[in-house]
């Protein structure tokens, strides 16, 4: 009997059914604007809910709006205000299962009952200013600056009554802490210090001078198995560093939004900078692409982030129909929740961006703490994907909006459009670069145009480096009877068109001019040059067009010459290039049009593509005959 009882207890223990602690340890911190690590669950996959998420789902979702005069808690499911409390909030509140911990003006901390809004305690904090807070099973940890004992201090307070459990002083500047069951992780300049949660004893210390490129760690994030130290737009994944699976140091391509708030030692509260922020998801495999969501004031863009930190494919984009901004973003397993500055709530499907719910606001909110949101699966959502043309339409809508506040989101949109394997998407970015899209005067349009110009000068597509190297090696082979080389170029040319790497362009040009290149390959090569549209090919293409424009055999053998004319016309039109390439392209087009020996169908192709000159009325040979006249005839 004893053995059976022991076995039963063991079984219960192993499944967690007899666990006594009900406090979640992954309380959302800082209005959920900070980086949140997540498991490898894909939205819609019911069987992969993280254990901690399961635990937090026992609590009703709650939105705590930070208003000018206090806190307002709203039940999003019912659309009812649960409580309102007039508190002078500064900094970012955090919460655990039962309490919302609110930093107050006067350097105080209040514990507010999550269900009723009753203020359980209100205690002064040591030091002069708060750096950050985190809540962890029955405790709240604060980092402060300006203490008599040193520059900074870590303070652990009871979550029940606010009494100080332990403190630790530090000479170094501290960041926003995070905690798991046993350890409190505190950023300390370029180190991360692990302290025992109950005693404050140091149990770990990690040096990260190189990981974040010399920057200070601003914030720690702990969730599931992930432990992440981050600053601005870079982060260090301690889990990857210890298990060796994937790179530990990561960064997002700069210029769109920060992933981590820059605190510089003090929590300034919900500020303007939070309205432009990037959320990153962490898959189990550190090398896998990440989900990311950019909040850009009135726009939200969901996209994939490559291992190189460069945004790749967009999944969907949402744009507010009016001028109100989003002040808080929460990305749950299945839903994305947005709080707008009028206090309204918008819930989107994380997978498709479809609007699932909307709750009108009462009064203005400058920030929000979203608790236990977005974990309810969306019916029929699994494996759904928004068709590319719809996503493209959403992105173009964001790009076309003249609101200057959208520039960071629009830069990201231009980036993902440029990386798409879709010629139409690229055309949008080229139109932006040429001023055909967003041609209005103004600084925002200028910034976007400059960004688009920079993009169009580089590669497009999202090829892995080893694939690029493989294509380059294959392209370097030239047809040769002696070496038995007869490369099949059409698939390589298509690969170049897909990846768009400029270093492949010289190889394409050499193949274009090589006499042994097959006619079918020639068409593909010219198509690729049109697709990549890199100015470095102008000289080679000009040689090709000059050499063969009077050769009917070559003109009719493939579409290469017509495509080369298209390429030159695009380069001649490209005001931004304005250099010798554009000039050469214009000269060649003009020459070919005027040359009496030009094959007539090719001249007809050139005629409407002559840049910045009146379109000729006729395809007839012009009266001037320079090709003959320069021979002295």
């Amino acid at each position: 009997v004893i053995a059976r009882l022991a076995a039963l207890l063991l079984a219960l223990g192993s499944t967690g059914a007899c666990r006594v602690t009900a406090m979640p340890v992954d309380a959302p911190a800082h209005g959920n604007m900070a980086l949140l690590a997540e498991s490898s669950c894909r939205p819609g996959a019911a069987a992969c809910v993280p254990a901690d998420a399961e635990k937090t789902r026992r609590h009703d979702p709650l939105v705590v709006l930070i208003e000018e005069r206090g806190l307002r808690a709203v039940e999003p499911d019912a659309g009812l205000v649960r409580w309102w409390r007039p508190l002078p909030v500064v900094g970012h509140p955090v919460a655990d299962a039962s309490t919302v911990f609110v930093p107050l003006r006067g350097h105080e901390l209040a514990g507010v009952d999550r269900r009723t809004g009753e203020v359980r305690f209100r205690v002064p904090l040591p030091g002069e200013a708060l750096t950050g807070l985190t809540a962890t099973g029955s405790m709240v940890i604060a980092t402060v600056v300006g203490t008599p004992r040193g520059r900074s201090e870590i303070v652990a307070l009871s979550g029940a009554d606010g009494r100080v459990r332990w403190t630790r002083a530090s000479d170094a500047r501290l960041g926003t802490p995070a905690a798991n069951k046993k350890v409190v992780w505190v950023p300390q300049d370029q180190q991360v210090v692990g302290l025992h949660r109950r005693t404050g004893r140091e149990v770990a210390r990690i040096d990260l001078p190189a990981a974040l490129d010399g920057r200070s760690v601003e914030q720690m994030s702990v969730q599931d198995r992930a432990l992440v130290a981050g600053g601005k737009d870079a982060w260090f994944d301690v889990r990857s560093a210890t298990n060796g699976r994937g790179a530990a140091s990561h960064a997002v391509e700069p210029g769109y939004a920060d992933v981590f708030a820059l605190r510089s030692g003090m929590d300034p509260g919900h500020g303007d900078d939070e309205r432009t922020r990037m959320w990153i998801g962490f898959p189990d495999d550190a090398g896998a692409p990440r989900d990311a969501v950019l909040l850009g004031r009135r726009a939200v863009v969901s996209f994939r982030l490559g291992p190189d930190g460069v945004p790749s494919r967009a999944r969907w984009a949402w744009l507010a129909e009016d001028r109100r901004e989003v002040v808080a973003l929460d990305v749950g397993a299945h839903r994305v929740s947005l709080i707008r500055e009028d206090g309204s709530l918008v819930v989107l499907c994380r997978n498709t961006g479809e609007e699932l719910d909307r709750l009108s606001g009462g009064s203005a909110a400058r920030g929000a703490l979203l608790l236990d949101m977005g974990h309810t699966p969306v019916p029929g959502d699994a494996r759904r994907r928004v068709p590319d043309e719809i996503v493209r339409g959403q992105l173009v809508r964001v790009l076309s909006d003249t609101d200057p506040r959208l520039v960071p989101a629009q830069k990201l949109v231009a980036r993902v459009l440029w990386r798409a394997d879709d010629a139409d998407a690229r055309r949008t970015v080229r139109a932006l670069a040429r001023g055909e899209l967003r041609g209005e005067p103004g600084e925002a349009a200028d910034v976007l145009r400059a960004h688009a110009l920079e993009l169009t000068r580089g590669a497009w597509g999202a090829e892995a480096p080893q694939d690029v190297q493989g294509v380059l090696l294959a392209l370097a082979r030239r047809p040769s009877f002696a070496r038995g080389e007869h490369p099949v170029l059409a698939p390589l040319a298509r690969e170049v068109a897909r990846s768009g790497h400029p270093e492949m362009v010289p190889h394409l040009v050499e193949h274009l001019l090589h006499p042994a290149t097959r006619d079918t390959d020639l068409t593909e090569i010219a198509s690729a040059l049109v697709a990549v549209a890199h100015p470095s090919a102008v000289e080679g293409v000009a040689t090709f067009v000059r050499r063969y424009h009077a050769d009917a055999h070559v003109v009719y053998a493939s579409r290469a010459l017509q495509l080369c004319i298209d390429y030159l016309a695009a380069q001649a039109d490209a005001e931004e290039h304005g250099g010798p390439e554009a000039k050469l392209a214009r000269v060649v087009l003009e020459e070919v049009w005027r040359d009496p020996f030009t094959e007539p169908s090719l001249r007809a192709h050139v005629a409407p593509r002559l840049p910045r000159s009146p379109a000729p009325d006729t395809d007839d040979i012009p009266p001037e005959l320079p090709a003959v006249s320069h021979l002295g005839l």
Binding site: P479, S480, F481, A482, H486, L513, H514, P515, A516, V545, R546, R547, Y548, H549, A550, D551, A552, H553, V554, Y556, E591, V592, D595, P596, F597, E599, P600, S601, I621, L625, A627, V628, H630, L631, G632, L633
Partner: protein, 173 residues
Amino acid sequence: MTLWLTRLVSIAAVLCPQTARADARPVPPQMAPATEARIDVVAARLRALVHEPGPEAGRVVTQAVRGGLPPAVLAVLLDVLREHPRLDLLPVVRALASDRRADIRGRALVAFAELGGLHAIAAIEAAADDVDPRLRQLAWALAQRHPSAAADELVRELMARDARLAALQGASS
């Protein structure tokens, strides 16, 4: 010497019979009669320029070729250059040796080889590496016309690689 020259011309004629004689070419599709007439004029002018001494004539010819000319004109020009090799027109000949049309390439290589010495070896090497079997056959003919140890070596290597050409030459000899 005359025999080899005759063979070369016959190979060139096989490569592109329509340009073997400038006056025997067919009219390209949709080519205006006025343009066709100009081909003869331009070809005649180029022929005169090649015979004209001085760098200015060479510069004009180079410019004309760089701007692009119909194959029939190029064929005439290369035939003239074969008869009157001009070192200042080497860039023209080299450029035309990589033309897509095998007949133009062949004529250019013949004219290239007529410059003699290392140019002949370079022309033989280029012909021997060409993917067109007719050009490889031309390599053999050029090696006979411009004999040297290097040319012999190139032809030996070519015959070792190109069984069809080796058989053809074996049968003809």
